[in-house]
């Protein structure tokens, strides 16, 4: 029984396929990381689960949350799930809050929207602000966003996300825009308060500190997935291997940490294995697309690493 | 969306180009003398060398429209020229010294001038120096100075915090040098957009002034005056109002589309948004 089950999720912008056939599941209380470089399709995957894709971008496939379909249904049928069953914290805290509205009201709004009486919502908003460790929450509630720092605003966003006790929290690079010291506090907070979590980041260290399981995306596909420990210590896909090599989590004694070339723009990925034009191990075999195979630790590579 | 912006740019450019070409052509050739009165041709129907017919004075409407394009451009160029010549330096100075008293003074004077709209200035100037195209152009130009000053200031403020300007200042470049070398080239696109929009406004202002009798002096053909003169024949000979009305509308539309198109084309912020 999983909280979220995604199967064959694809995202298209016109003729361009930006995310292809992504499948994964998140169990209740499980923390899953979704990593990849920018352009890998990880944010689109998250947005498609929230039904917040930009205009002209469409998702297909299925994603079920507690028995309700999230993908391919009109907004009117999913909007009552948003903010109640599944919440999201975005990357950019500076612009995610309405600048003309007091913080408390913005927190309370998500509760009144889902049926909490206005008065209760206001009180609980202050409590929530306290819960996300904002000092003097009552005062913060009366403040406007511009009066808060980036870290404080991201806490407000977290308070909004948690307000209705959702079953799943999606965080899209929630700490990227924050100072390093603030990042750490924020991560600890998320770790503490999150129910089931889908955590999107390009920062492997962050994933390692928060999540139990990880999905690695490249070129709109999940190329490897599995428990953090296994994937990070014994990466199988050559891309994961390169990614790890490029970070500090380099297994000792391996060669220079680089991936040659750069991520192609959307739609310019090669057919077959999407990584083959950058992969030092690519062979003609790689012109056919590898399937994601394996129980627990799965990968999609013809020439997996040791 | 991007495609439409380009279509607007093309359409605007084409309309403006048409006005310019017509105006230029009118210096060399018009089918008839646009100011020659001929009772025999009074209200002549279109046709037979008189493509759009003749007005109550027997003057060829098509020739009048051609020379009217010249007047329109003349008004726009001079008005926008005055506005830019005064407004841009003021705006740049204000933008380069954002905290100084000079900047404050410039912007306050700007606000004050802004309180004298073009029509009011034109009526006042017309009362003092007599109505006429030049008076109208000066009035429209002066009234448009604040618009240029504001745009120039805002754009300059943005340029002043860019790395290359900071570097130039750190290197000890003097302000006038920075203004010429870095600021002007970088705010140019915004100014072109503003010029295009102001041009459209100037055309409308000239038409309104001509209607009130403060615009171009007769018999110099002007679309605004043609429209005004055709009023009494609106019922019997509506074509006399139709053509200058259409000319004004198309010219204004052209400059507006051009301005919008250029803005979309030149402003990187908008371009990013359009591509998302």
């Amino acid at each position: 029984m999983s909280t979220l089950k995604v199967e064959g999720l694809s995202v298209r912008a016109g003729a361009l396929e930006l995310v292809r056939e992504v499948s994964f599941a998140i169990a209740p209380g499980e923390r899953v990381g979704l990593i990849g470089e920018s352009g890998s399709g990880k944010s689109l995957t998250a947005l498609s689960l929230m039904g917040l894709l930009p205009e002209d971008v469409t998702a297909s496939g299925t994603a079920r949350l507690g028995g309700r379909d999230l993908v391919g249904v009109p907004e009117s049928r999913v909007k009552d799930l948003r903010g109640r069953e599944v919440s999201m914290v975005f990357q950019e805290p500076m612009t995610a809050l309405n600048p003309l509205m007091r913080v408390g009201a913005q927190v309370a709004e998500v509760m009144t929207l889902h049926g909490t009486p206005r008065h209760d919502a206001r009180e609980r908003a202050v409590a929530l602000l306290d819960r996300v460790r904002l000092p003097e929450p009552a005062q913060v509630a009366r403040a406007y966003p511009h009066q808060l720092s980036g870290g404080q605003r991201q806490r407000v966003m977290l308070a909004i996300a948690l307000a209705n006790g959702p079953g799943l929290l999606i965080c899209d690079e929630p700490t990227t825009a924050l100072d390093v010291t603030v990042q750490k506090q924020m991560l600890e907070l998320i770790d503490e308060v999150a129910p089931a979590l889908l955590f999107i980041t390009h920062d492997l260290a962050v994933v390692a500190s928060v999540c139990e399981r990880v999905l690695v995306m490249y070129g709109g596909r999940v190329v490897e997935s599995g428990p953090i420990r296994e994937v990070f210590t014994r990466p199988r896909h050559r891309y994961t291997e390169g990614l790890l090599a490029a970070s500090r989590l380099t297994p000792r004694g391996t060669r220079l940490p680089t991936i040659q070339g750069s991520v192609p723009p959307a739609g310019r990925f090669p057919g077959g294995c999407v990584f083959r034009n950058r992969c030092p191990h690519a062979t003609p075999t790689c012109e056919a697309a590898p399937a994601l195979t394996g129980e627990g630790h799965a990968f999609a590579c013809w020439h997996p690493a040791g | 969306m991007r495609g439409r912006a380009n279509a607007g740019l093309v359409a605007g450019g084409a309309l403006v180009g048409l006005v310019v070409l017509t105006a230029v052509a009118s210096f060399f050739w018009t089918p008839h003398d646009p100011t020659l009165v001929d009772a025999a041709r009074k209200l002549r129907e279109p046709g037979g060398g008189y493509l759009l017919g003749a007005d109550k004075f027997g003057r060829d409407t098509f020739s009048q429209l051609m020379v009217g394009a010249r007047t329109t451009l003349y008004v726009g160029v001079v008005a926008v020229g005055i506005a830019a010549a005064l407004g841009v330096p003021l705006g740049v100075i204000a933008g380069m010294t954002p905290r100084g008293w000079l900047s404050e003074l410039i912007m306050r004077v700007n606000d004050l001038v802004f309180a004298f709209p073009a029509l009011l200035l034109a009526v006042m100037l017309g009362a003092v120096y007599g109505a006429g195209t030049l008076t109208a152009m000066i009035a429209i130009g002066v009234a448009t100075v604040p618009a240029f000053a504001r745009v120039a200031r805002a754009a300059t403020l943005q340029v002043m915090v860019t790395d290359y300007v900071l570097a130039a200042r750190a290197a000890g470049r003097r302000r006038p040098a920075i203004a010429v070398r870095h600021v002007l080239p970088n705010i140019g696109s915004m100014l072109i957009v503003q010029a295009s929009v102001s041009f459209a406004i100037a055309i409308l202002a000239e038409a309104a002034l001509s209607f009130l009798g403060f615009g171009t002096r007769p018999p110099t053909p002007s679309w605004g005056r043609m429209l005004q003169e055709s009023q009494e024949l609106l019922f019997s000979t509506p074509r006399l109002a139709l053509w200058p009305g259409l000319a004004i509308a198309l010219a204004v539309l052209g400059f507006n589309l051009l301005g919008d198109g250029l803005r979309d084309h030149l402003d990187p912020k908008l371009r990013r948004v359009e591509e998302r």
Binding site: - | V37, K42, G132, G213, P218, L234, F235
Partner: protein, 494 residues
């Protein structure tokens, strides 16, 4: 009859002013009670003793203020407040016998004392130059309450005529404290209300001495824009256009079931003034060339839709001494060029920004260009700026203005007038005409008009037409506008 009039007047007052303009559907009422008439120029104030402008006497003279005599439609001088008058044999003493039942709208009775007061006041208080027309008056005396005697310094043919103008208006001794806003006269109408910038309403004078006017009120609505005035008539906003300023638009009123177009004549000579006092028009040949260069028929057809008449001098056909002088300078560009002797000129044509002037100027410019005279048109706001620059300072070469004053040929006799025309012979003819018998007067004035034309003191573009458009059923409109006033006394609606 009188009683009915009063009843209507009271009824009109009870109904208030809401009826103005909208009183079309008067099917049930026996008579429509109010009318609105569109005018071009609004009076600056209501005091024509100190303020210039044709709009004031146009609205008030005969209607609110009355003189001892007035001008009828044929231009004859007829009795008004004077029942009759006698002229002494030496033509220097005028004895006016006054009506005895006349009161001012203030209630004060009108007596010979008011005649003395009003005529003396011209000398003492009036601020207009035209008051010099009454300089010929030596003294004004009351013989008894209904008899006033005016003694002239010398015989004058112009005196009685002047008495039909605003100069002869009768004021109450107790009614001149606020002439600018509160006119007090003996006329059939009194000032009802004045909405500045919009309209003047005249109400029937309930205590009027004569035949009560058929209407209870008349609204004079002012339009600066000719098209707006046309539209107002088309949509029922007004009942009458007093003077069409866009003659090309008359076609709109062609439906005889809805409108009636009245075309009469006026005193208004549309003059192409030439500055005789400075080059190039100090040269008679150049002036003559101008007169030959202009195709007056074509000008009238294009500039004023062919409405109006052609004249060749400063006398309208309604004056007894009119002679057709249009043949003096036939359209002949070749002759004009020859008179100019190949020279070309650049001149300034400073015109008032009035429709007829702007229209005519464009034709004049085009036609003068054919003979080598380049005229730059400069429209000046009328009245102030034109009066200042052209009329007062004489800073112009050419101008175009409609001289509307009746019997105004005398303006050419004044060298300081903006024409700058100076011919002693002309002045002598006018003086002799004023002194002489009726026949001598007529002969002298004919001679003067001929002289003026031959000297090409100016060019006369056309005679301004009296173009009135009224809703069908409006009666009593004056066909010709030959006096200073727009006479409302007979105006009615069927």
């Amino acid at each position: 009859m009188r009683r009915i009039g009063i009843w209507i007047a009271v009824g009109g007052l009870l109904l208030g002013t809401a009826a103005c303009g909208g009183g079309d559907g008067g099917g049930s009422a026996p008579k429509a009670q109010s009318l609105s008439v569109g005018f071009v120029a609004e009076p600056a104030n209501l005091d024509f003793t100190s303020t210039e402008g044709a709009a004031i006497p146009q609205a008030l003279l005969v209607n609110v203020y009355e003189g001892l005599v007035k001008l009828d439609q044929e231009g004859r001088i007829v009795p008004l407040l004077a029942e009759k008058w006698e002229i002494s044999d030496d033509r220097k003493t005028y004895t006016f016998t006054l009506r005895d039942n006349v009161t001012f709208s203030s209630g004060a009775p009108f007596t010979a004392d008011d005649v003395v007061f009003s005529l003396d006041r011209v000398k003492s208080d009036w601020k207009l130059k035209i008051k010099s027309q009454l300089d010929v008056v030596d003294k004004v005396e009351k013989k008894d309450d209904t008899t006033a005697v005016v003694t002239l310094k010398q015989p004058s043919n112009g005196f009685l005529y002047s008495m039909t103008t605003r100069l002869g208006a009768m004021f109450s001794r107790t009614g001149v404290s606020d002439l600018a806003n509160k006119p007090v006269g003996t006329g059939p109408y009194v000032l009802g209300s004045w909405r500045r910038g919009d309209s003047v309403q005249l109400d029937a004078n309930p205590s009027y001495w004569g035949t009560k006017p058929p209407l209870s009120s008349i609204t004079l609505k002012y339009f600066k824009d000719a098209t707006a005035m046309n539209n107002a008539l088309l949509t029922g906003g007004i009942d009458v256009i007093s003077s069409v300023q866009a003659p090309e638009s008359l076609q709109q009123f062609a439906d005889p079931n809805r409108f009636e177009v009245i075309e009469g004549t006026t005193n208004g000579e549309v003059v192409l003034s030439m500055n005789n006092a400075r080059p190039p028009f100090d040269d008679k040949k150049v002036r003559q060339a101008v007169r030959h260069a202009i195709d007056h028929k074509a000008l009238l057809d294009t500039a004023w839709a062919g409405r109006g008449g052609l004249i060749g001098s400063m006398v309208p056909p309604t004056d007894p001494w009119y002679e057709d002088r249009t043949g003096d300078y036939p359209y002949d560009p070749a002759k004009a060029k020859q008179l100019l002797g190949g020279r070309t000129y650049n001149v300034k044509m400073r015109i008032p920004n009035l429709p007829y002037a702007v229209s005519s100027a464009q034709v004049v410019k085009s036609q003068l260009a054919q003979v080598g005279i380049t005229a730059e048109i400069e429209p000046l706001e009328f009245p102030a700026r034109w009066l200042d620059q052209v009329f007062t300072k004489g800073d112009y070469d050419l101008s175009i203005i409609n001289h509307v004053e009746p019997r105004d040929m005398g303006i050419f006799a004044d060298e300081s007038y903006y024409f700058g025309y100076n011919n002693p012979e002309f002045g002598e003819l006018l003086a002799s005409a004023d002194r002489g018998t009726e026949q001598e007067q007529s002969d002298d004035l004919k001679q003067a008009a001929k002289l003026l034309s031959e000297d090409a003191a100016a060019d006369w573009l056309f005679l301004f037409p009296n173009l009135i458009v009224a809703k069908k059923g409006v009666t009593g409109l004056p066909k010709n506008a030959i006096s200073e006033s727009f006479d409302f006394t007979a105006l009615a609606k069927q």
